[in-house]
Amino acid sequence: MRVLIVEDEKPIADDLRIVCRRLLREKAESIHIELTYANAMEYLSRRQIDVMLLDLNLSGRDGFELLRHAVSYAFQTIVVSANVDRALEAFEYGVLDFIPKPYNEARIKKALSRLQRSSLRPAPAVKYLSVRKHGTVFVVPVSEVTFIKGADVYAELHLRNGTKELHDKTLNELSRILPDHFFRVHKSYIVDINSVQRFVIHGGGRYTLELHSQEELPVARSKFGELKRRLDDL
């Protein structure tokens, strides 16, 4: 696991690194520290990471401007901050966890364990997905997404208005943070159950979903049972 710690107070950054190293042990491939967000972005342009531990109050900058940027990447973000009043909002932007300061080792351990447990969704579910485009970051409300299609290491967000946006996280990573009404129907598709108009059985083990937008999505045979149950529940 490749960890980036972004924290402007060096003693705390060093301590976080010591704790992470102790918790991750051999799983820690690299644990790097950057004291400023600019340096962290520069690091990210050269290296891939799996998780970022981010302090929201870096040198007085607006933490959520940083957060919106951070969650647009493929890696997961864990916030470590004294700004607990904005924890709920941070989850809505899709962070994996929010660790309030002062932290302890047990709490960091719990947050890191979320990385390994893909089925464990943080509560509450994310409301916004950050998208990086043309050098800027903007947010897409999750309520606007009808389905998501995997595109290599990216995810294609298909929106209700007919447009598409590219998101840096994989479908696996998105599955961890999206609300319950988003269901992985296929290795390449996550769909919003509320966008489904009808479920079509073609025979021969082939199933599709027809959305309100008239689009058709394939459904994996292994997902058929659970999907049917979810649709029946609606």
């Binding site: 003693p11 705390i12 060093d14 301590d15 040198s59 607990v84 300061k101 002062p102």
Partner: protein, 583 residues
């Protein structure tokens, strides 16, 4: 029957009428009067004959030796005269009503003859000055009912004046029902008491303000103005509130001009100061000259009253217009008072009160309204200042003991406890010192510079521990006892640390004080680069706090500048001895 003119005498239903004229068989004009409840007639068409020839005055037809009273000239009047006029009464009076005659301002003594019969006297009339006894200024003379039936009548008076230094021919003669006369007197009394009360209260208010407020001279001037109006009113209308001898007229003619000149000078002088008129000396000379000319050229008190009135209308109109365009407070109410009193005069709604009194009262009322507004505004400002002060105190506490700062600092304490407990202890001690000082100064408007520097150094020590670096503060030419608003430099240092040392763990702050004739300048330099984008600048909460504190302690007398300098960044605070705008 129609009447030439009607003047209302409010509040009672007493109407003062000028009766129509008709021509008697003798060829002289007569006064036509009709017995009516609540009506009083002012008798005219008087003829006068100097001397005491009773045979030609009583029981005879007036000959050419009788002159129209309008052509009569004497100043002052000393002598004995007969005056007469004709009265035609149309209609009969009810059983319980009888007529009366009320001479006004007739000095010193007189006898009344109705249809050549003696009916009443006021004082003792005599051709011999030694035998004359001065009568009352105000005397209602009853006309016997059996003599005042319907028809033509002759009213004759024998008047002597040897003892009072005043003229009588400007006086008036009122005729009507006796109870209507009395009601007239009561009406005047009420009016005068009310006006005296208003002016007296205004005078007392401004005297109290003079003794208790910093605005000394203007309050004293206004009190003087009110005193002038009070004297003028009291003297002019003293006859309505007290039974006085005819000699009252003499004192009235002496005191009223004095009070009028007091008004004529005090009113414009007050507003010259109030409006901060720049040409005080020439304006004062003009005011004194105007009043002097009026005083020296007046024919009688009524004439002087009108002269002073016209003079004040002109002066106050000019002052009010100037004040209005220069946006002086009070100009609008004064303009309104001038306009209102002129309109009242033109519409003759003065209810018998002279022009100058009405004008002065309008000014008093309008200025008092303005004063009340100022007091209310001052009270609101005080309240706002108190609220601002409390808000600033809260901001001070929030800035320094805000949860984020505390939690971040505690995190740092925990980290140092694990790493190096002695450093953790020092960090806790520095935090304690900072919070202790903040608790001490939070409710103060100013603190000693020594305390501010201690606070700044405590904060720099905390941040040095937190960032594992070294931040220091030097100071030059600082007076430890000098007082400044709390946490000004603490806030600026905090700002600097947050925004300008993003990737540095060492920094140097230098606080310098310099003194000039204009005031004191503080410069806070730090050796960082320019603040990062989006950082706290004049629009941010830190600078807003600093600006609010400066304005609280040095309203209009400060400036704050900032920017890159050689090798660093600098914030400069200038505190001026006087307002930046020179006011």
């Amino acid at each position: 029957m129609t009447f030439a003119k009607i003047r209302l005498v409010i509040p009672s239903l007493v109407f003062l009428l000028i009766p129509d004229a008709a021509t008697a068989s003798s060829g002289y004009a007569v006064n036509q009067v009709e017995p009516r409840e609540g009506y009083i007639y002012e008798l005219n068409h008087w003829v006068v004959r100097p001397g005491d020839d009773v045979h030609r005055a009583i029981g005879s037809v007036p000959d050419s030796s009788w002159k129209d009273i309008s052509s009569f000239e004497s100043s002052p009047l000393q002598g004995i005269w007969w005056v007469r006029t004709n009265v035609t009464i149309s209609g009969s009076a009810p059983e319980n009503k009888f007529f009366a005659l009320l001479p006004d301002r007739i000095v010193s003594a007189y006898e009344v003859y109705w249809d050549d019969r003696y009916v009443a006297s006021n004082g003792v009339v005599s051709a011999d000055p030694r035998l004359e006894v001065v009568g009352r200024y105000f005397s209602v003379m009853q006309i016997p009912k059996e003599l005042s039936g319907t028809g033509n009548h002759i009213l004759t008076l024998r008047i002597s004046n040897w003892h009072v230094n005043a003229r009588w021919e400007a006086g008036q003669f009122f005729f009507g029902y006796y109870d209507s006369m009395i009601r007239l007197i009561y009406t005047w009394q009420l009016r005068i008491y009310f006006l005296l009360g208003v002016v007296f209260l205004a005078m007392c208010l401004h005297l109290f303000l003079f003794f208790t407020s910093h605005r000394h001279l203007s309050f004293l001037l206004f009190a003087l103005l009110c005193a002038g109006i009070f004297i003028s009113l009291l003297v002019n209308y003293y006859w309505a509130v007290a039974d006085v001898s005819s000699t009252y007229l003499e004192y009235r003619n002496l005191l009223v001009p004095v009070s009028l000149v007091i008004i004529g000078i005090a009113m414009p002088m007050f507003f010259l100061l109030e409006f901060r008129f720049p040409y005080i000396i020439p304006a004062t000379v003009l005011i004194l000259a105007g009043n002097s000319i009026a005083f020296l050229t007046h024919a009688d008190t009524e004439h002087l009253n009108n002269l002073i009135f016209y003079l004040l209308v002109v002066l106050m109109s000019v002052l009010a217009a100037w004040g209005f365009f220069r946006k002086r407070e009070g100009a609008a109410p004064v303009s309104f008072a001038v306009a209102a009193s002129v309109l009242i005069g033109l519409a003759d709604l003065r209810f018998g009160i002279d022009n100058l009194t009405i004008f002065s009262l309008s000014i008093i009322i309008c200025y008092t309204y303005m004063l009340a507004r100022q007091f209310a505004s001052n009270e609101n400002q005080k309240q706002d200042a108190l609220v601002r002060s409390i808000r600033l105190e809260n901001q001070l506490l929030k800035r320094s003991i805000n949860p984020h700062y505390v939690l971040n600092s505690l995190t740092s304490v925990i980290v140092w406890l694990k790493k190096k407990p002695s450093t953790a202890i020092k960090l806790v001690e520095s935090l304690s010192e900072e919070f202790r000082i903040v608790a001490q100064v939070s409710n103060l408007q100013k603190i000693a510079m020594r305390t501010e520097i201690d606070l700044c150094r405590a904060h720099l020590r905390i941040m040095s521990f937190r960032k594992k670096g070294k931040f220091s503060l030097e100071h030059h030419n600082i007076d430890p006892q000098e007082e400044i608003p709390p946490m000004i430099f603490h806030t600026l240092i905090e700002n600097g640390l947050t925004h300008s040392y993003e990737d540095r763990s060492e920094g140097r702050f230098v606080l310098t004080r310099s003194v000039s004739p204009r005031g004191v300048v503080y410069s806070l330099f730090n050796d960082s680069c320019a603040p990062s984008s989006g950082s706290d600048h004049p629009a941010g909460t830190g600078f807003k706090y600093v600006q609010a504190r400066l304005e609280e302690s040095y309203p209009g007398r400060w400036s704050l500048n900032y920017g890159n300098v050689k090798d660093g960044y600098e914030v400069t605070i200038a505190l001026f001895n006087h307002s930046k705008h020179g006011v």
